[in-house]
Amino acid sequence: MTETPESALIERGRRGDRQALAGLLDRYQGPVFNAALRIVGNPDDASDVTQSAFLKAFENLDRYDPAYRFFSWIYRIAVNESINHNKRRYRTHSLEERDIPDHRGPQASAESGTLSRQLQEGLMELDEIYRVVVVLRHYSEFSYREIGEILDIPEKTVKSRLFTARRQMRDILLARGVDL
């Protein structure tokens, strides 16, 4: 069966067609959820962030500019939602949890390998601006141009942040005893 063009789904979605919205969800909920998971650190929060991101996107479909790619738009919303979520969580927890928070949720626990846990926890130790570019590059496989579009930063900044992120991540992983 021929896949419905994305532009048609968006147009129908603007008119409130639920099947079209479901089609957009079907295409993007997995990648958006995984990106959010790597930024916020646990699946429950990632689920909330993904839900919130899609709701915002759907409520504002009329404002979507087709000159830009839809995936850039939804990822931008999701990244912003993830960052805002982390800020709220930090504000909520900072007064009561002075220790490094345990970001592991049930799903993360299912990632049974020690390396996986170390990697996710290491990601959470990265400064957020670096974590986001790592996620978009290594887990969402976006090009520098696409990452720049999503984050609204120049490609040169993407390149620079990625280099710094990898160096920091190396130090974090080595400090955690990960054999690279």
């Binding site: 839900q51 709701l55 759907f58 790592v134 290594h138 887990y139």
Partner: protein, 248 residues
Amino acid sequence: MLNRDQRELISAGLDGELTSRERREHDALLAASAEARALQAELRAVGGALETLPEVAPPSDLAERVLAQATPRRASVTPIRSRWRRVQLPLAFAAGLLAAVVVQRLLPHGAPEDQQWMSGTLAPASKLPGLTGHRIDTEGLHGQVSLGQRDGARALEFRLQASAPLEIEVDLEGTGRSFGGVVSVDEAPGVDAQRIEFAGGTVRVVGDGAAAFGLLLPAMATGAGQGGAIRVAIHSGGEIRYEATFED
């Protein structure tokens, strides 16, 4: 000692993000510098480790949760006919008991009974005898939808009872009609105006699971509103329960 630009060049080389000129510079650097080769190996190892994190499936009910709450287009308007009282949806249950009588009073006497005015019903629905409308009787949604005339304007009437919150969409695009306000139906409750939105040619009403009201749909210009199709969709519990097209 490598400078910052050279280090970033090596990092970008691992991502395949080099121009042809940069690629030549990159290759020359690696050929000439052991430090560059060590850095490349180091960054490659970090990248390789990062990419061992497995993909995780989103919760199975995530899409359903989103669709249950999704409300594209949110430009709210206030109904222009303020003299009709606006009451809350939960009171609408009583309206169901009066539905048949009320609809008989409100709808046009001259509506052609044999008019083919709808298509595409998803839920079990039967034509209301003598009226332009449907009786709906399906899991999670009961009641009726009908198209009539009120004070010189088309009026789309709803009397619905659902087991979950309702969302009603009336698409007027291409009909030459607009949203002229909400009316209560005799003693039956109307609908909270805060829950009504109109934008982009679509009226959207969100309710608590019960609804009894009329939507006024006046023609935007003389001669308009003839021959278009008014599309109605009713969602409840995350699913579409009823869908029909009323020929104007």
